[in-house]
């Protein structure tokens, strides 16, 4: 139904086959409205933001700031709590260096989980080598749910950094409950929302986490734009880690006064064109309705699971999680071979460790094939996937 909004599906035939795009957890496709608005920005509004005392710069600034308010409304928070970054990874690294570096000391504990993406592991490992704090990983059960989080909280971690939705298993963590538990012991909660925001209603007032980060490109928006939400009381206390450009209020030879947050964190010329256009992606989502997207994906996910289970030797990981991410393996066939053979029919899936090697190890596999769904997918995509997988299985007999 929504496929027609996305020009990539009419522009990309391969081997005579239409594109079946099942890798939206890596990046989503872009609707025509977003593509057109990006072109329009460069044709009608391009000027550096804040600086110019002229109409074009004022218009550009207005569009940039409109996105900030649009994102804030979308998440039910205040615009002063929204910082633009380059993406989720950039956001986590910002938190690690602007916040955690000053908060943590040798012997402290940072709690992660076994289902984290490398982007929410490696920055902590790097900082840990400098400071000497400890990192523990909350384990997961076979169906991809967190195990014993309560017990790990008894160790009084200073920070818990956790994904909202697993990029491999599709598990949805109950952030509202987790924030409540963590805050009781004074633990800061950081959430990687990369796989959540385009698939479910995210109300940060309800989730009550301290930081929440995600990327625009996974929600029909341009690449190179990320959102960092931080509670006002935390952001206002943080020192910037990058200096220069419009984040400054005044400079003398001896001192500098920064602007208030969030502006003090946006040093140098920002990615204003892509940020400005991102508001159109949110419009696109809200025109369909986030709850409608959520239930559409859920239905399609259920259909995919039902059909995939008919394939001999296929095993789904995290089967009960209907958040649009289906990871599987097939006995005796390497995921890379599955992906390569599906590509012959122009079916795009992801195969490998999905930047989650700790999770792979916990699941006892080296790699999986992942099919991730978005609003532009339909049952015919699943049927094509399943029919191609049937053929692949028959080749290997």
């Amino acid at each position: 139904m929504y496929k027609k909004d996305f020009p990539i599906f009419t522009n990309t035939k391969f081997n005579g086959f239409d594109l079946v795009y099942l890798d939206s957890a890596a990046t989503s496709q872009k609707p025509q409205i977003v593509i057109s608005k990006l072109k329009e920005f460069y044709e009608k509004y391009n000027a550096n933001i804040y600086r110019g005392i002229y109409k074009l710069s004022e218009e550009s600034t207005e569009l940039y700031e409109k996105t900030r308010s649009r994102v804030a409304d979308f998440l039910n928070v205040s615009s002063s709590e929204i910082v633009f970054t380059k993406g989720t990874t950039d956001g986590i690294n910002f938190i690690v260096y602007a916040y955690a570096k000053n908060k943590l000391k040798k012997g402290d504990l940072v709690l992660l989980t076994e289902m984290e993406h490398h982007s929410n592991i490696v920055p902590w490992q790097i900082l840990s080598k400098n400071i000497g704090f400890n990192i523990e990983y909350v384990p997961i059960s076979k169906d991809g749910k967190l195990k014993d989080l309560d017990k790990f909280l008894e160790f009084k971690p200073k920070i818990l950094s956790i994904t909202h939705v697993s990029n491999v298993l599709g598990s949805v963590n109950d952030i509202s409950y987790i924030s409540n538990m963590a805050h009781k012991i004074g633990c800061t909660v950081i959430v990687d929302g990369a796989q959540a925001v385009s698939h479910m209603k995210v109300d940060l007032k309800l989730l009550d986490c301290d930081f929440y980060v995600f990327s625009a490109h996974k929600m029909f928006g341009p690449t190179g734009v990320g959102i960092l939400y931080g509670k006002n009381e935390i952001l206002s206390e943080l020192e910037p880690i990058f200096g220069g450009g419009e984040m400054i209020s005044s400079v003398t030879k001896d001192d500098v006064v920064f602007k208030d947050s969030p502006f003090k964190f946006e040093a140098g010329t920002q990615n204003f064109a892509d940020v400005s256009v991102f508001s159109n992606s949110i419009d696109y989502i809200e025109n369909i309705g986030i709850n409608n997207i959520s239930s559409y994906i859920k239905d399609l996910h259920s259909y995919a699971v039902k059909k995939l289970k008919g394939i001999k030797g296929l095993r789904i990981y995290g089967e009960g999680n209907l958040s649009g991410i289906v990871s599987f393996d097939i006995n005796g066939i390497h995921p890379h071979d599955i992906a390569t053979l599906l590509n012959e029919n122009n079916i795009a899936v992801r195969a490998g460790h999905h930047c989650a090697q700790i999770l792979m190890s916990s699941l006892g596999v080296s790699s999986l094939t992942r099919c991730s769904l978005q609003i532009y997918n339909d049952k015919s995509d699943i049927d094509k996937l399943v029919s191609s997988l049937d053929k692949i299985v028959s080749y290997f007999k």
Partner: protein
């Protein structure tokens, strides 16, 4: 997976009919190679006498591409000069003889057996 698919017509058949995927009892070179990121692994067993490869066997786990290239390389090694083996049996020659076009990611799989033999030559 249409009729033009080399992966279907050649690679999968070659995968099912690997020639030297066996244990050999007499060997003087054993070398393991691994592509950690995708889980491909190979162990080569090579018997070299007077710098001539007399016999090759291997264990391999992983994708079709890595195993087929291992099989074809092993077949081409027998009877050749060991110390110069990768010049005599080059990756480029075998890649073009198989005739499949691989993406950069899959090229790593195809190169694994060659990297493993290179390691054996270096370590020796």
């Amino acid at each position: 997976m249409d009729n033009n698919s080399l992966l279907q017509s050649f690679i999968i058949e070659a995968y099912k009919n690997q020639k030297n995927k066996k244990h050999i009892h007499v060997y003087n070179i054993k070398q393991e190679g691994e592509n950690v990121l995708c889980g491909d692994s190979i162990t080569f067993y090579v018997n070299v006498v007077d710098d001539i490869v007399k016999d090759v066997g291997y264990d391999a786990k992983g994708c079709v591409i890595s195993q087929v290239f291992t099989s074809v390389l092993s077949e081409n090694m027998i009877g050749k000069n060991w110390s110069n083996i990768l010049n005599v049996v080059s990756f480029d020659d075998i890649y073009s003889s198989i005739g499949v076009s691989l993406s950069p990611t899959r090229l790593k799989c195809a190169k694994l057996p060659f990297e493993t033999i290179k390691l054996a030559l270096t370590e020796k």
